[in-house]
Each structure stands twice: as C-alpha cells, then as structure tokens.
Amino acid sequence: MGIKEQIKSVLREAEIYRTQGLFNEAMVKFKYASELIEKNVKPENGRHLIDGITKKIELLKQTISKYNDPEKPPEMPVEIQNLIKAKFSFSTDKESAALDGAIALTKFGQFERAIKEFKELLKMESFRLVAAKNILRCYFASSTSSVDGAVSQYKEWLALGLFTPGQLEKIKVFLENLLKEKGVEIKLPAVKEEKAVVKEEVTAKSAPAKAMPATKPLIETPESGKEEDDFLDVSSVGIVLEAGGKKHSEITLDVSFQSGNMVCLIVPVREKLLIESMKAGLRLNNVQFYSPIAILNGSGVVAAFTKISSGPKMGNYSLDLKMFTN
C-alpha cells in the first residue's frame, strides 16, 4: 500500500471510531495520520490536511473531557424515578425496601426525590438517624439545594423535636463534618436537651408511626444469613471513642481496602487513644460508615490490629474491621 493509501486508510479508520463514539481510539488514529503526513508529504501539500486533523483532535479532546468529567445527573421524570425506586429495592419487607429505594435514588443522583423519600423514612424510629444524615448528604450533593438548605434543615429538626438529644448531637457532628469538608465555616446552634426530650414525647404521641422491625439490618450481613459481600462501598469509617479523655469524639479513618463487610483501615500513629484501646475481638458500638452517597450507623468488630512494619506506612497501624449496620 502506498503512503497516500495508508494515510487515507488511517483517516477512514479514525472517522469510523469517531462515529462509533470511540473517541480515544479515534484520536490515536488521527494523531498517527498526522504523523504520517508530516513525515511523508511535502509541507505545502500536507499543511491544510494537518490543520484539518488538528481541529478534529481538538474537538475530540473537548468531547473526551466532557465525558470524563460528567455533569451531575439530571433530575429524571417522576416515572423514571418511580422505576428506579421500584426496581432497585431488594429488601423483602416494605420499610427496608423503602430505604433501599431512597438510597437507589441517591445513587442515581435523584437528590430532590431522594430527600422526599428519606423525609418519609424519618417517621420510622429505626431509620430516623440514617435518613436524616442522608437528607443532609443529599442537600450537599444536589445542584439545586445547598449548604444553606442543609443548615436550615438542621435548625428545623432542632425545633421540631423529632429526634432524641443524642441523635441531634450526632446529626450536628455529622453536619459539621460535611461543612468542614466543603470548607464552610458556620456555627451550628447547639442541641437543647430538655426541649428535644419534651418535643420527642409529643411527637411520639401524635405520630404513632408504623411499627418497624427495630433490629432489621439496613444491609444484610453474614450474621443475618445473607450474602457476605452485600455491602455498600465504604470510603471512610468514623469510630466514636467510648472511653478516655476524648470520649464521644469521632476519629475518621480512610478505607484502604474493602471486601464485602470487611474493611482495612490505616490508623495513623498519632491516634494514640484509639491505638491504645484496640485489640482483636473488640466490639466498637458506635461506628459510622461513609459511602460516597449514603452514611450508615453501625458497629464493628476488630478482626485484626497490627503495626505496619515495612513500606511507606511503616509505624502506623492496620485495622481490619468487620462492619455491621444497625
């Protein structure tokens, strides 16, 4: 095949890849064609060809960058949201299925609708805290809602008295962490214990809510006889210290590896209080599991706790934690 034919063939190939949506492959071929022209065609003849190819490459770069950095998913019509809710709820009992549905909506970026669904779940005691945290997370993730929306929501909950003081405190800490992540400095109003307790009683009387299987896990764990691997992807884990001077404070650790309901966490050597209290078999009763789209409350059992003796993390500790959600 002569060079002219070869260039034509490469350009044809590039064009087909482009029309097939294989943009990276098209770009590689266009670049190759450009090189062939530069090497083999006289500049006065090849210049306009190279210019044309360069324009195509530029357009492809823009398209690739658009696809690599997709905008937040658009809010879908109600019918599609209903389909998502119906088809991605896998639990057999109605209430857990409702939570599945709300989480699925979040996963598919349908934050406005997910907030509505999570608000319905607030009526159920056993899902209340998880639903509240997910609502706040949705506010932060949604393009139309905002940080202000999340803060207003928190203030509304403070006044409403739907939550126990302990739950409100957890929500406050959670919201503070979200704000911190976002680099926003807002002082949140503190939880007023008495008011919250009184209001909770009133709410309990006025809203007898549907009975909930209180101990039903949100995500099945091996203990409940379900699949071991059926667990959300967890990006970080918050462990609330249960004793010592910093009792109740939360230490957040990044997940270095996850397999089903087992996560491997790196504990920096500076977390002395945590390190001192860790040992294999220890049950941690207050643990938060952070996935990119949902936060789950739960507990964990330390499967292994060892000092890292080599590599870049040497001196830190490796903590294998078995996760259980409430």
Partner: protein, 203 residues
Amino acid sequence: MAIFNLKNREIECKIVYYGPGRSGKTTNLEYIFKTYKKQVTDQMVTIDTEGDRTLFFDFLPMGLGKIKGCDVKVQLYTVPGQVQYSSTRKLVLKGADGIVFVADSFTIRREKNMLSLKDLDQNLKECGLNIFKVPLILQYNKRDVGGSIPIMSIEMMQNDLNKQLKVPSFPASALTGEGVGATLKECMKLTLVHLQKEFKWAQ
C-alpha cells in the same frame, strides 16, 4: 433474583447486558424492542446522555407467555459501560439471573473487552455470584463493520474471553439484528434451566 409467585404460577427474572462502553448493549435492546413487539410488554426505558451513552441503565420488560404452565416474565437491563459508572453497574447487576456479555469485535477494543469481563467477575463476586455458575452468554458484536476497520477473529475472541468460561457465544451485529435473537434466546434458556434447579417452577 427471580421472583416466583407460586400461587399465580408466575416467574419474573432479570437479564443484564454487560460489556465495555460502546459495545452495543443498548443497540441490542433497541433491536429486541423493535422486533419482538409481541413479547414486549411495555415501553423501553433508556436513560442516556446527549452523546447516546447510557447514563444509568436501559430497561425493557418482556412476557414470554406460558412455559410449562408458568407465566414467564423477563426484564432486560443494560449497564452503563463507561468506566466511571462503576457503582451504577454494580447496582444494576444486583439480582441478575442471567447475563449477556456484549464484546466489541474491533481489534482496538480487545483490552477493553477483557477489562470489562474482569470487572463483571469482580462485581458478580460483590453480589455473591460466581461467574462460572451464573447463566452467561458471550456475544461478539459488530461483526458487520469490517471493511477498513480491523476486527478480531472469533477464535481470537474465544481465546481472550471464553477460554476458561466455556459458555455459549454468538457472533452478532446488533445494528442489523444478526445474532441478537439467538443470544437472547440462549440466555433465557440457560436462565430458566438454572432457575428450574432453584425453584422447580416447571413442575
């Protein structure tokens, strides 16, 4: 996971079309929707971006009628093939009873096919399923393109993708429909046989 209604003798199963981005999963479903009108029970739902890339999933419900006295319903899904939609793929794959892996015959997509099959294996594991046990069909798509585009031979694709799995495979062109029906039928057959072992629905 299939839903089996013993009282009404009704079984509903889920088949997921998996594969690398732009391999032709949505085109498969579009062809099925156009061609098997009698079996299609509702509109096909497609959620894509402006560039026709599947954003969430495609959904196509079908009714196969009575088989061995049981009303068989099948829901077809596609996953988004682009690498960045990993969590969506996992979610769509959950509860799958049968899988069609749509591989791209373009030589240039050889590695992407293998990576996507590896991704399927990993995601199945995370769903508690075993790629060697789940009803699985391979489809070698875009056999019609050829011409100036180098495409892999069936032998090469079998060697790359099916050497260990040894599952049924079909050459296809989702655009013209060649091999699309055969792929689906074989997947349904394997799936129903598999479910029979589990539910004994045909008794």
